[in-house]
Symmetry: C2
Subunit: 244 residues, 2 copies
């Protein structure tokens, strides 16, 4: 299996010695897999996680565990209060997270868990960090196949942000644009899990649930839990997180 | 004088009654003029200011004074620690702000006061706020004529970000893209000041200096002070801020 990259593919390791990159690390299954993939491709990684007032805050603990497991010592957890703007079930405790949606519903239409412009905000912060560190790429685990219907996970969105990165930075103006590398964008959830397992990634460190309990245990019923469970079932593997 | 807007112009007031917008308000001369212009065009404005660890922090006080003077009650001052990434004279006190540069130097090349991806970060936050509030536009005071050589002030950058706003939001997917409105982008500093004075804007409330003293008084020698002084001189007006 060979993950597809979005737009400008990074050069092979043989062409550029150990490129450096900032990986957006949420603590979820996808971003952990993208980070493991980048590590396997010899990227020198820094990691950025955003503390944006999400109610599934155990994500941030998971991001630290994943960074440690992958040997990423430069890990910035940046607080930013998107909850000040309100407007999403992921940041507003008064809005319930949808549960038990059918396959036909998940990924069709934009659910209430959509956070306005979240990936645009995250990518812009990754871009600032990448340019400050002199990194040549941003690695991210977005996925346009088994996803929850968010517009800012689509390849056309990533291509548009690539233009912003090229035109809006000193690095881009000087002919060293910071590339977006999205190795999972065209993989199914099962393919993502197979890739991570082949790289030795411990998915017990990751968390995907939008509505975990106070001990971080997944609800098993939100869109994210359902997509994850279906992915592990398709692979025929056991999700180490589900047995917590 | 009629300011040019970038890309998709907002519809005339006759076509859409009092559109709502988020204005990025830095507390400087340009963004205050853009906000005064939008007020004169009957936009219902919310304002967003970013506390990003800038060392010219009197900007934030100025942004509050400008918002109050323009009757903008919905004003969010959002803290975000760009200084955690380092890398610019505007956030790193150990890097001196260039002083007494000649006209030939200002605007040619990217100066050390460039903050990596700053406008991308600010626009992404304005986009999140605009979508959360149901606003149809983002108003910003960027200017590509008398500016300091920052890549993220150019019209082509703004056009690229407009695509990100269209593709990366629920509003855009549903056919209500949030437009970028940059009324000053093709105006000279003198034209901007004339516009603001014609609208009754009190420039004594605004601050432009990159390196003010502890009481907020301008240094008179950084690029931003020099551009501002040349603008007032060209108009034949007195800068009320310069006499503080």
């Amino acid at each position: 299996m060979k993950p597809d990259d979005v737009k400008a593919r990074p050069k092979d390791a043989a062409e550029t010695a150990t490129p450096s990159a900032v990986v957006l690390l949420s603590g979820g299954l996808d971003s952990a897999t993208a980070a493991a993939w980048a590590t396997s491709k010899s990227y020198r990684l820094s990691a950025l996680s955003i503390d944006y007032g999400q109610r599934h805050r155990c994500e941030l603990d998971a991001s630290r565990a994943v960074a440690q497991a992958l040997g990423i010592s430069d890990h910035v957890v940046l607080p930013i209060d998107l909850a000040a703007f309100g407007g999403s079930a992921l940041v507003d405790p008064s809005t319930p997270v949808p549960k038990d949606r059918s396959d036909a519903d998940i990924g069709h239409g934009i659910p209430v868990t959509y956070v306005p412009a979240r990936n645009t905000v995250f990518l812009s912060l990754a871009l600032a960090m990448a340019e400050t560190r002199g990194a040549g790429a941003i690695v991210l685990g977005v996925n346009a196949i088994d996803y929850s219907g968010y517009p800012d996970c689509r390849p056309e969105f990533l291509a548009a942000f690539g233009e912003v990165a090229r035109l809006g930075t000193k690095a881009g103006v000087e002919g060293r644009p910071i590339e977006l590398v999205a190795p999972l964008v065209k993989l199914s959830k099962a393919e993502i899990i197979r890739l991570g397992l082949s790289l030795g990634l411990d998915y017990g460190l990751t968390t995907s649930c939008y509505d975990p309990d106070s001990r971080g245990r997944p609800c098993g019923r939100c869109d994210s839990c359902l997509l994850r469970a279906a992915g592990f079932a398709a692979v025929g593997a056991t999700d180490p997180r589900a047995s917590l």
